[in-house]
């Protein structure tokens, strides 16, 4: 396994400068709730403004309203957003994966209908994969879609569906036959479709992004099906590769580090500086790897194992870094602190265990890497 070294071109650097200038203007510190990476606040206005710059749906083709740009260019935008803890929650999932899934597997009609809305930052997607009894073992899912003529009847329960309460669409994976892997199919369900009940499950830090979605004889026309009947597993797996590869997997802590680095605690403590330097060095190394992965994507490759390899170690390092910051902070920070940074630190302490769960657990990723090594 080898990740070729790469650097940003001058054009790519220009994009970075542009994004920084825009965000300086649009998101001055203190004017928005700080978020932890991709778990940033849901703010449809911000998503639309960002989209107006051409920075949502960047990887979608221009004929569908997208930017027709590269994975590297998208990464450049994402890095700046994550650094600032920007409110990206509304468009995140659609931008990262649902749009591309629809582009690759959707009908022409679905593409024309959905992709422009994604690229305008108007559509928000939630991913309905997990179920109460199907987490790591996704193939054991039981929610069903049964066909009657041109109508599908959907029944079952999805759980831990991030952002479902605010999403305009839910892209769900349902069982359409008993064949373990070959019996799953994806459907696109607009919010408000009768027969769907979405209830937030309060998250450990008190937020409400996490949801349970219950389907009670929800009816969909066949036009809502994404891809072939039975092709859902493969589509979902490719989507997970997109979900794992990027910097969003290890930049959750950036808004905390960005500020911590220049606090007095660090300036006056040799011990803290040693830890900060160590964190800096390692994040610098991960950045190089993520950039190499983005280049592979742009070269038409599907670096599934490489993405898992980076995600597995980088998310654990995020947790380790947080523990260091906390130790130097010297006391337990408060979620209700008037200082937004302290509140964010408190939130991070509570949610950090999720970093090595979401998008595939550490243990599952190790299996992915391990199998990948045997195949090479």
């Amino acid at each position: 396994m080898n990740l070729a070294p790469t650097k940003l071109t001058d054009e790519e650097r220009n994009l970075q400068t542009e994004v920084r200038a825009f965000l300086d203007e649009r998101l001055p510190p203190g004017t928005y709730p700080l978020g932890l990476g991709m778990a940033g606040d849901v703010d449809p206005d911000f998503s639309r403004d960002l989209a107006a710059q051409g920075w949502v749906g960047m990887a979608l083709p221009t004929e569908y309203g997208g930017g027709g740009r590269t994975a590297v260019e998208r990464q450049i935008v994402v890095e700046e957003l994550l650094t600032r803890g920007a409110p990206i929650g509304f468009h995140w999932t659609a931008d990262r994966q649902s749009g591309l899934n629809i582009l690759h597997n959707g009908t022409e009609e679905q593409r024309r209908e959905l992709l422009p809305g994604i690229a305008r930052g108007e559509y928000s997607f939630a991913i309905g994969m997990s179920e109460p009894d199907a987490g790591s073992d996704l193939a054991s899912l039981r929610s069903k879609a049964v066909r009657e003529g041109n109508t599908w009847h959907v029944n079952g329960t999805k759980i831990w569906t991030s952002g479902a309460a605010t999403a305009t669409h839910i892209l769900g994976l349902f069982r359409t036959s008993d064949d373990r892997h070959g019996g799953m199919t994806q459907f696109i369900i607009p919010a408000g479709t009768p027969g769907m009940r979405i209830s937030p499950i309060p998250f450990i830090d008190g937020t409400q992004h996490f949801c349970e979605v219950v389907f009670d004889d929800l009816q969909l026309s066949d036009a809502a099906r994404l891809g072939e009947v039975g092709a859902g597993w493969g589509q979902n797996t490719s989507e997970l590769a997109l979900e794992r590869g990027g910097v969003d997997r290890w930049m959750s802590l950036m808004p905390i580090l960005e500020r911590w680095a220049t606090t007095e605690t660090v300036r006056d403590s040799a011990a803290a500086q040693i830890d900060l330097g160590r964190i800096l060095a390692r994040l610098w190394a991960y950045r190089g790897m993520s950039l190499s992965i983005a280049r592979l994507v742009d070269a038409g490759r599907f670096p599934v194992v490489e993405a898992a390899l980076v995600k597995e170690m980088a998310t654990q390092f995020e947790q380790e870094s947080l523990a260091l910051v906390r130790r130097h902070y010297g006391r337990a920070p408060s979620l209700n602190s008037a200082d937004p940074w302290e509140a964010l630190l408190a939130q991070a302490i509570l949610v950090a265990p999720s970093w090595t769960l979401r998008g595939g657990t550490t243990e599952i990723l190790r299996s992915v890497i391990s199998k990948g090594l045997v195949q090479r």
Partner: protein, 342 residues
């Protein structure tokens, strides 16, 4: 010749001279090593212009050579000899291609007196007593070339059992003195090569462990079938891929940025230590023996992870720099590198 052509062309020589499954014995003086075959291919002068008496090739070629040397646990001073040659080139001093060279890794206190003689101590010079010449930077930043036969040598060994000698110079007539690279530049160049060498050794460690986990049977299955053992194999692959990536990143730069080298050193050294732990854990008792290959690699990794700067000092410098920088994130995302705090 591209870098990958170079390493492909050399692979046979390395495999034949340093077989990948042999366990290294203790290392003697240079005359008892394959140094002459190594030198016979002019590999000791890679990365030095032919006009200056070198054998040509880019810095990237030299990094690839160091990586290969690390993979094969080569027991000749590859990094030291090529860095010495580079120091001579930078100082405009003649390079004797027939001679063997080394550099000090530990602290030096070298002074050129008014009468032109040098005195001082060079600590931790790999193969210091058995190379012909040693190149060091003195307290005034000048490049000084001395013959090891003019020094009193105190033998030492590193953790891998390779010679690391101390040279004491008393009013010795140097073979050359000139202004060239700074001590800092010397450290960065050598550190980059050490990272490449470490990357190679980590690849070898990962390969060896993966193979062993596939062969060793306990409870009726190869131990590699157990998830807990797979985790060690995965970690080793991660450390190898990551460190190789760091070396490759340094290799493509037209010149080394201190920030990049120091950051890469910190990560590479930590990776080496983590990898040694995981490799031994996966190997069980066999890995603790001298008859098996693993120690050949892990003892080198432990040695190298402190060379040209200890992690703690390097991290402190990075942290001090970050605490003064306008943006932490931009240090990671930008190519314009901040000045490193000292």
């Amino acid at each position: 010749m591209s870098t990958s052509d170079l390493t492909a062309a050399l692979a046979d020589f390395f495999s034949a001279t340093w077989p990948p499954d042999a366990a290294a014995g203790e290392c003697g003086p240079l005359s008892e090593s394959p140094w002459n075959s190594f030198r016979g291919l002019d590999l000791h002068l890679v990365g030095i212009d032919e006009a200056a008496g070198g054998s040509g090739g880019t810095f990237a070629d030299l990094m690839a050579l160091a990586e290969l040397a690390g993979y094969h646990a080569v027991d000749v001073p590859v990094v030291e000899a090529t860095t010495a040659a580079w120091l001579l080139e930078r100082a405009g001093l003649p390079i004797d291609g027939a001679a063997s060279h080394s550099i000090p890794i530990g602290p030096t206190n070298l002074v050129v007196g008014d009468d032109g003689t040098v005195s001082g101590t060079l600590i931790d010079v790999p193969w210091g007593a058995s190379v012909d010449l040693v190149v060091a930077v003195d307290d005034d930043g000048q490049t000084v070339l001395v013959a090891s036969s003019d020094a009193t040598t105190r033998p030492g060994v590193d953790l891998a059992g390779q010679p690391r000698d101390t040279l004491v110079l008393e009013d010795v007539r140097p073979r050359g003195v000139a202004t060239g690279a700074s001590a800092e530049q010397l450290r960065h160049r050598a550190a980059a090569l050490r990272i490449a060498q470490t990357a190679g050794a980590l690849q070898a460690t990962a390969d060896l462990t993966r193979r062993y986990a596939g062969e060793r049977v306990q409870f009726g299955r190869p131990i590699g079938a157990f998830q807990a053992v797979q985790a060690h194999v995965v970690l080793l692959e991660q450390m190898a891929v990551m460190t190789t990536g760091l070396a490759d990143r340094l290799a493509i730069e037209p010149e080394l940025h201190p920030f990049d080298v120091v950051a890469a050193q910190v990560v590479s050294a930590e990776n080496a230590v983590e990898a040694c732990r995981a490799a031994h854990q996966a190997h069980g008792a066999i890995g603790m023996t001298r008859e098996y290959r693993l120690h050949t690699l892990t003892r080198r990794l432990h040695t190298w992870s402190g060379d040209f700067g200890e992690t703690i000092d390097l991290s402190a410098r990075l942290g001090a720099t970050a605490s003064q920088a306008p943006s932490f994130a931009q240090m990671i995302l930008d190519d314009t590198r901040p000045e490193l705090a000292s």
